[in-house]
């Protein structure tokens, strides 16, 4: 029995040394041994092979390769067209308005359609894949195709859960521990120039380790547009991992609420080595206080650029929701960044209503990998006479355009919020003008 434990301990030590030397050290210093590249190439080839197999298997059946999330197919007819059709069954009366009892059918149907499915909430479920990527979680409708595919799938499960997951968890733990220790250590130093340089080094190293902990392959584009000190970096938000992705390539000051527990420990440690902007829960309500603190941070040119996600919530990376205007009122230079994940290798979207943070991270660690593209866009300034909302929309369009995402007009907060009366009035106006005709124009304004 003792031999067994001795052996197990020895194996564990070898494992740790391997991990540290082959993965951590290269990660920390930014060069690569090519292991992950090889892994990615094999992975891509396997997935391509799987896709071909599935497509062949489906060739007999009719397969609509639609990448939509939809449960229902909506009629696209406008209000006018549909109500016209309903009225066709009888002639228009000379007096008393053009109303029929069947008018309500149109509105009822639209109402029920929106209960079953609506455009806004579709953005808060994970994107469906056109072809299966050998992960159980993306497996909705796919059936048995062939023995080989099943074997590869089984092998995939083994590799992901037994080999990759422990590896990644080890790396993540090492990364976070090092972050806490390193930043606290740097925080003890007096304020020399060395301190800033060291703090940046520590931060970047830890984030690189964490990135390896997720098998993240990140492609940065247009690095000449990287955010500078004294500016605000805005990006679209898909998951908390966005922070790791962006911080792999530079140091940012974070903004957020003070949390308890593990997050709180991290936050306090990070603040020791370089200034971040953490708010107490009560302070978040006071918009002036928030704006003032952000402004102070931005005006101090020695402080790092602030990283903000103006959507305010996680979205599923197919579109960009409306930006909250708070960060655009400060008057600083805005550096937009677009982040787009490749869903083939793993779904990065954090559905906070479905998964807790821990189960989300575990899902991330048992995916194949995380591949994403980051585009740095040229800096934007608020123009003369432009209000914050308009500026925010301009930035949002730029990000959506670059990332290939849909530029939505809806507010991210609408996941759970009620809508304004004015939109209902629009519908009422349109309907009334159909019923009462020209008479209503004298009343409506």
């Amino acid at each position: 029995m003792e031999d067994f434990w001795a052996f197990a301990l020895w194996a564990l030590r070898i494992w740790l040394y391997l991990v540290i030397s082959l993965i951590m050290i290269p990660a920390m210093f930014g060069f690569s041994l090519g292991i992950s590249e090889t892994y990615m190439t094999i992975l891509v080839k396997t997935l391509e092979w799987a896709t071909l197999k599935i497509q062949k298997g489906y060739a007999d059946e009719q397969l609509e390769a639609s990448a939509s999330n939809g449960l229902i197919q909506r009629e696209d007819g406008s209000m006018e067209k549909e109500l016209e059709e309903l009225r066709r069954s009888r002639p228009k009366p000379p007096v008393g308005g053009d109303f029929t009892l069947s008018d309500c059918f149109y509105f009822t149907r639209r109402g029920i359609e929106s209960i079953v499915e609506d455009e806004v909430t579709q953005r808060f479920t994970s994107e469906e894949l056109v072809s299966w990527n050998l992960l159980t979680r993306s497996h909705k409708d796919f059936q048995y195709i062939s023995l080989k595919l099943t074997l590869v799938y089984g092998l995939g499960i083994f590799v992901r859960y037994c080999i990759l997951a422990p590896l990644r968890i080890t790396l993540a733990c090492i990364g976070l521990t090092w972050l806490v220790i390193g930043t606290s250590a740097v925080g003890l130093l007096p304020n020399w120039r060395m301190k800033f340089w060291l703090s940046e080094l520590v931060h970047v190293m830890c984030y690189r380790i964490c990135a390896r902990g997720l098998s993240a392959t990140i492609h940065y584009h247009n690095r000449e547009n990287k955010p500078q000190k004294g500016g605000i970096c805005v990006a679209n938000h898909t998951s908390p991992i966005d922070v790791v992705i962006l911080c792999n390539d530079g140091c940012y000051a974070m903004v957020g609420q003070v949390h308890g527990g593990l997050m709180g420990v991290l936050q306090r440690a990070m603040v020791r080595s370089c200034p971040h902007v953490w708010f107490e829960r009560a302070e978040m309500r006071d918009r002036h206080l928030v704006t003032k603190r952000l402004q102070d941070h931005v005006n101090d040119k020695t402080k790092l650029p602030i990283l903000i996600f103006p959507e305010g919530t996680c979205v599923n990376n197919t579109s960009v929701m409306m930006f909250k205007k708070g960060s655009f009122e400060i008057g600083a230079t805005i550096y937009p960044v677009a982040i787009k994940y490749d869903p083939k290798f793993g779904d990065a979207f954090w559905n906070s209503s479905k998964y807790s943070m821990v189960s989300y991270l575990l899902r991330m660690m048992t995916s194949w990998a995380l591949v994403c593209n980051v585009w740095y866009l040229p800096a934007m300034h608020q123009q003369e006479g432009e209000d914050a909302v308009h500026f925010a929309n301009r930035v949002k369009s730029a990000i959506a355009h670059q990332g290939g995402l849909v530029d939505l007009q809806w507010d991210g907060g609408l996941k759970r919020a009620k809508v304004k009366e004015s939109f209902k009035e629009e519908q009422q106006k349109q309907y009334s003008s159909m019923v009462v005709g020209e008479d209503s124009s004298s009343n409506s304004d």
Binding site: F107, E425, Q428, V435
Partner: protein, 194 residues
């Protein structure tokens, strides 16, 4: 790659619901996910506020009436079974499986669809749409866009057209008669993708 029915187990009475409403297993599953999504505090039941959170529904002039159609009189919550039963009214009749005469009328028959629409007007469920009830509907649909006189004349004409027994109210049969030429199945159906 387990079979679909294993995930149906978390839905109570799934098989009966499928039988009763005619939805396929896949649809029931999707609708259950939707139900869970709308059920913000995970109570297993929906309240009117949960429906109110749907943006497009709040913009709908008769949105509130559609919402209250889900709740039986006196009840303040709706469970998944009732949710699905109401939605079953909107299935297209094209996909009805053949049934023997012993089975009750399917949820999405023409009559049932008409009944649903009728009840949107007839809020007090007395079987007749009175002039006052009609005026109320017209008001919610057009609110401030028309004058009171215009509303009255519209209601007057609508009742005159449909009221055959001259009792100044529209009964369900009169309602149905006035809808004879309307393609109910098309207008009151939602196309569920399989």
């Amino acid at each position: 790659m387990g079979s679909k029915s294993s995930s149906l187990n978390k839905i109570p009475n799934a098989q009966e619901l499928m039988q009763e409403t005619g939805f396929s297993a896949a649809h029931i599953l999707r609708l259950y996910e939707r139900f869970e999504f709308l059920d913000v505090d995970q109570m297993g039941e929906l309240r009117p506020e949960d429906f109110g959170a749907i943006r497009e529904l709040s913009m709908n002039p008769i949105g509130d009436r559609i919402i209250s159609a889900f709740f039986s009189p006196g009840k303040e919550t709706v469970d998944f079974a009732s949710f699905v039963r109401i939605l079953a009214h909107f299935r297209s009749t094209e996909t009805n499986r053949t049934r023997d005469g012993a089975q009750p009328e399917p949820a999405n028959s023409r009559t049932r669809k008409l009944k649903f629409a009728f009840q949107l007007y007839d809020q007090d469920r007395d079987g007749k749409i009175s002039r006052e009830e009609l005026l109320q509907v017209l008001r919610t649909m057009m609110e401030m866009q028309v004058t009171e006189e215009q509303l009255q004349s519209i209601a007057e004409r609508a009742i005159q057209e449909a009221d055959l027994d001259q009792d100044d109210a529209i009964s369900f049969d009169e309602f149905r008669k006035s809808m004879e030429k309307v393609d109910i199945d098309h207008k009151m159906s939602i196309r569920f993708l399989s």
